[in-house]
């Protein structure tokens, strides 16, 4: 009995791990009925995998039986692997028992498509419903929505879940046609459009009626696989931008393709996972969401791909030296945010602290600014120690030389966002 459960968990956790989203933030579900759990904070990573990713949710497939044959997916119909399926009750028990021991923030339930979209979606919804109603579970629930599922089921999913997501996986339509012939873009976009409308409508309602039920309070997200279809960084980020702007998505995730077959439409087995590229894309995503950059400034026809050697903020700064130097004692927050080596928090600290005294290198260092980068782009109350008027190529060289040692000890993978 428990052996079979172990085996199912192995198969269905393993198949779900390629979905990188593990966020449990953005909801506002309280433990309103003295039940179990809440999802009000920013989410907790209860542990980290040996590849350094956050584990906050029990992330599993309900089943890895699938009628589709998407080339990039281990679960695809034509793949010769062991198949398994949880019962609804098994998923409920696992979630409750893991949660009670403080292993997880909640459940992220996805599934292969068995029989058809509605049949699958119905099962996913019934897990969530059972948790919420019979078990008074108020932890985080993220449900994958199955492309092509009916509006009624989508609506019910929104009532029980905190977050819903449809993974677009391939950022271009041509790539999608090639690699996921059973899927069509319309089936993926439609549920997103429906959910966007419902989320807006219920938000309006809750302003009028305090007791209006929550509807997917943590919104929608999606994921794109990186490096499976020969797409450019510009393709990826412009698509991401459309999702943020057009569908109010909370998050777009980028997942470096992990080679899983020797299908010649895809990178061959054994080729490296593009971890660095993935990191650069996340940095770009942050610049768009928190630093006031427009996607067009970072990636355009002239610069369709990110610079692997330096982060996109530094790269933008070097292309736009006319913006600099910025005087940290007088410049607007928006401008300070554009300085390489200054993050959002430091920028806010600068604006707060400069009212007391004019800031010099010492202050800036204590506030936590990466001066080794920032010094080329700012002036402050201390005398300039370095010769100015360096060319962009020189600055690039200096910064690279300084960070190279760090870069190498990291096994060639740089993870800090803007270190």
């Amino acid at each position: 009995m428990s052996e079979r459960l172990h085996e199912k968990l192995e198969i269905l956790a393993d198949a779900a791990k390629y979905d990188v989203s593990c966020s449990s933030s953005g909801s506002k579900r309280k433990n309103h009925n003295k039940g179990l759990g809440e999802a009000t904070g920013s989410g907790i990573c209860h542990t980290y995998t040996e590849d350094g990713r956050c584990v906050s949710l029990l992330k599993i497939l309900l089943t890895n039986h699938c009628i589709f044959d998407c080339a990039y997916c281990v679960t695809r119909k034509s793949n010769d692997i062991k198949r398994a399926a949880f019962t609804v009750q098994e998923v409920v028990d696992l979630t409750m028992n893991f949660y009670r021991r403080n292993y997880i923030e909640g459940l992220f339930l996805s599934s292969g498509i068995f029989k058809n979209a509605d049949y699958t979606m119905e099962r996913l919804v019934s897990v969530a419903k059972k948790l919420r109603t019979e078990n008074k579970f108020n932890g985080y629930i993220h449900l994958k929505t199955i492309p092509g599922a009916s509006d009624e089921l989508m609506h019910e999913a929104g009532l029980w879940a905190d977050r819903l997501s449809v993974n677009i996986e391939i950022p271009t339509e041509s790539g999608l046609k090639l690699l996921a012939p059973d899927k069509n873009i319309k089936d993926m976009i439609e549920p997103m459009t429906y959910l966007k409308k419902e989320i807006i409508r219920t938000k309006e309602e809750s302003k009028i009626f305090k007791s209006a039920p929550l509807f997917a309070p943590a919104g929608q997200s999606t994921q794109m696989i990186i490096g499976a279809s020969g797409e450019s960084d510009k393709d990826i980020m412009h698509t991401a931008n459309k999702f943020y702007k057009g569908f109010n998505l909370k998050r777009v995730y980028y997942s470096g393709y992990v080679p899983i077959s020797n299908d010649n439409r895809l990178p061959e087995l054994g080729s490296a996972v593009p971890v660095l590229r993935e990191n650069r894309l996340y940095q770009t995503d942050w610049l768009m969401r928190f630093y006031g950059f427009h996607v067009q400034e970072l990636l355009n026809d002239q610069f369709p791909n990110l610079d692997p050697e330096i982060d996109p903020k530094l790269s933008w700064a070097l292309r736009n030296m006319a913006f600099f130097p910025v005087d940290v004692n007088t410049a607007d927050l928006q401008l300070i945010l554009r300085v390489p080596g200054i993050g959002v928090q430091s920028a806010q600290k600068i604006v707060g602290a400069r009212r007391f005294n004019k800031l010099g290198w010492d202050h800036l260092k204590k506030i936590g600014i990466a001066l080794n980068r920032a010094k080329y782009f700012i002036t402050c109350n201390s005398p300039i120690t370095d010769r100015k008027d360096y060319t962009e190529a020189k600055i690039r060289q200096f910064i690279l030389n300084e960070s190279r040692s760090k870069f190498l000890t990291n096994g060639g993978q740089q993870y800090n966002l803007f270190g």
Binding site: G37, Y48, V55, V258
Partner: protein, 265 residues
């Protein structure tokens, strides 16, 4: 000598208090209102390395005085900055009382929004230390691993660097409202117990019991091993070997916490 005696304001004073938060706030109140030239703080039971030239003054904890400092602070700086001072106190780091005292003095010095003065060494130190304590609190919220006992208590032992237990009760009481739980600081020998109604501080007495050695199986619920094994198994299977990055892993889950993490045992 007693706090009420007259002290010449230029004579260095080592302020001795009972080690509690209210005690420290009382000490701050006395030192500030009487304009003592404070050279350091010490707790009453611990002999401090107090400096030879300073006069030792024992302050008796007075809740009303402590409250006056606390309420006064709340008028000067946002709540978050008041809590920062409390977190620093919980850090138990040497010399921290003095930084707290200096920072409070600065907050009362009449500047507008003094908490934003990151150019001030005390303000900065408080902000940085508080961040460290907060991080450990957050880590405990993540790394506590409850084990279900046969009589349905969810028990977790922890050994945090800082004394973060007082910061944990609210989070766990809200989240685990329908189960009895106990989080115990093994190093500091006290814990918090929740009985589905309220949280209480408790100390346990392991010593006399033949207890500790009695088979663990009898202590824990029948299902405990199953779920621990399932969790370990899950942890193993979400890993993607081709992305392996142990350095990053250890950075997020420092080795000193492994002892109490089921998945790392």
């Amino acid at each position: 000598m007693e706090a009420s005696s007259i002290i010449f304001s230029d004579k260095p004073v080592n302020v001795s208090y009972d080690g509690t938060w209210y005690g420290l706030l009382t000490a701050v109140f006395e030192a500030y209102s009487k304009k003592w030239n404070v050279s350091g703080f010490s707790t009453i039971n611990h002999e401090s390395q107090s400096d030879f030239f300073a006069e030792k003054v024992i302050v008796v904890t007075d809740e009303a005085k402590a409250q006056r400092v606390w309420l006064g602070l709340k008028k000067k700086v946002p709540k978050e900055n008041c809590i920062q001072l409390y977190r620093c106190y919980l850090s138990e780091m040497p010399g921290m009382e003095f930084a707290i005292f200096s920072c409070i003095k600065f907050y009362f010095s009449g500047f507008d929004s003094p908490h934003l003065a990151y150019g001030n060494a005390d303000v900065l130190k408080i902000s940085q230390t508080s961040k460290m304590v907060y991080r450990e609190k957050h880590r405990m919220e993540a790394f506590v691993r409850f084990q279900r006992t046969a009589d349905d208590l969810y028990y977790a032992g922890i050994e945090p660097d800082f004394n973060v237990i007082p910061l944990l009760s609210q989070h766990f009481a809200e989240r685990y409202a329908d189960q009895n739980w106990l989080i115990y600081d093994i190093k500091r020998k006290y814990g918090i117990y929740y009985d589905q109604d309220k949280v209480e501080e408790i100390t346990l007495n392991f010593s006399n019991e033949t207890g500790e050695k009695t088979a663990v199986k009898d202590v824990f619920h029948d299902s405990e091993t199953l779920y621990q094994e399932l969790w370990k198994n899950y942890f193993k299977n979400v890993n993607i070997p081709s992305r392996r990055n142990i350095k990053l892993h250890v950075q997020h889950v420092p080795k000193r916490y492994w002892k109490h993490l089921i998945e790392k045992k």
